[in-house]
């Protein structure tokens, strides 16, 4: 597959200010987007509101719950060619109470995650940029 080069992508080190907040001295959180007109909640960021009967361009940023439940998890051994150093890794769908499902990497031991496990949000490296620097993004780990 050809990978198109986007301006600035080679230097990205944080994924992504629109989606993820890591406040100083406080636990990180994901940013959901609630439509001011129809009230639907979206993640990641969409503009306009993807409700086709709405399409409003007025969205409100909301703080999503830091804890969720694993819907399913898989240990991935063969992944994308530019992520070889990160393999094996755990990938999962995590369901948040706001009715949003998030695809995410999990931090923790391979083989240790089960459907239904409670997890909480952390920050961690998710892949490297084109300069081989880690990009910090959102991940989940088991609730201790």
């Amino acid at each position: 597959m050809t990978e198109k080069k986007k301006v600035g992508e080679e230097e990205m080190t944080f994924f992504h200010p629109d989606l993820f907040e890591v406040p100083e001295g406080e636990p990180p959180y994901l940013k959901g987007y609630q439509c001011k007109k129809c009230g639907k909640i979206w993640f990641p960021k969409f503009l306009p509101c993807p409700n086709p009967d709405c399409w409003s361009e007025e969205m409100e940023t909301i703080k999503l719950s830091r804890r969720g439940k694993i819907y399913s998890a898989t240990d991935v051994y063969i992944g994308q060619p530019t992520m070889r150093e990160y393999m094996p890794m755990v990938m999962a769908y995590v369901d948040l109470p706001e009715g949003v499902r998030v695809f995410t990497q999990l931090e923790g031991k391979i083989g240790s995650f089960r459907c239904g496990d409670e997890v909480e949000l952390i920050a961690g490296p998710i892949r490297d940029n084109r300069k081989n620097q880690p990009i910090i993004g959102y991940k989940f780990k088991k609730v201790s």
Binding site: M1, T74, Y77, C115
Partner: protein, 384 residues
Amino acid sequence: MLMRDVYIIGVGEVVFGMLKDDFHILGQKAVRAAIEDAGISWREIQSAFVGNGTNGITTGQRVFRDLGMCGKLPIINVESACSAGALAVHCAYIRVATGLDEISIGVGTENASLHREPGSAPSPDMTDIEGFLGAVMVAKYGLRAQRYMYETGATMEDLAQVTIKNRRHAANNPYAWRKGKITVEEILNSRMIATPLTLEQCCGMTDGAGAVVVASEEVVKRLGIGRPVRIAASTVVSGPFNVGPKDETGDDIVTLGTNKAYEESGIGPEDIDMVECHDAFTISEILYYEAMGFCGKGEGLRMLRDGDVTQGGKVVFSPRGGMLSYGHPMGASGAAQIVQNVRQLRGQCTGYQVEGAKTAMSQVTGGGLQGTQHAACTTHILSI
């Protein structure tokens, strides 16, 4: 708008595998075989649709230029990830059904092995958030398999039965890549890709091509085809989108697409004799028994265990061997499925024939897109 009946008058495919011929040469071989099978002149084809995923732009013109057919007919390139080959046939079908053309051709072709990086897995586009976070298609199906096992108690040994069945089906199919006996141990001991899916539970990234010539009833009569294969349904749907929880052991877009095909054809699951589905991974086929309405929720495994989906059973799934035997060249599979279904209905599949088959369904999904289960799904029902 009044839609005419459309028939398939010619089919052609290449032997699938890791091939040295690039996509356009594979496409040419399939096209020539289909034209010969139809018994028509190349001049009679009025439009061509070529489905492909990764081989670049102007892929259709690359196929037809070296056959001297560029300049003689409109050639339209079709993209829909893994659904492209069937979508190309759908587009050819529409040209004839609406009366625009008397004869059209749909082609699916792909060469992955000459161009892809070995030892890596296909992923959604990098502009898709899941792709950026590292998603690969095998992982997305791994998630579905893990959930199915959690909900039903299915085991990896159960999933392996799909590979065993499909490779057995392909044993006498000259076009299949991998075929014949394989054991549960061999399947489960093969390299783990994304739990619970080991290498032999995944379709290979092979190369191949298929071509399908479609025509009106008038052409069928002129050619004197006594028992023509009719396209009873040709449907295309896009993936329902929402960012909330979905039932990943169901498949909303496949249910949508196949229901649309049942309605369009007036032929329901109880009347379908065989299905070529998107068995890119063992779990896929099991989920599709359920999503396509051949059994109830959670009953897919029972169908497999009871022999309902193999030769002699209620509905033979993957009589050609499926993607687990052919591998899955992205743009080619959707067309190749239809080619084999036509051969089955004509009774031309010596050694792997579905006896007395009157109806055949084929289905391919395309693309992983965040918030959808697949981006596209193309379904065909054929009858004779």
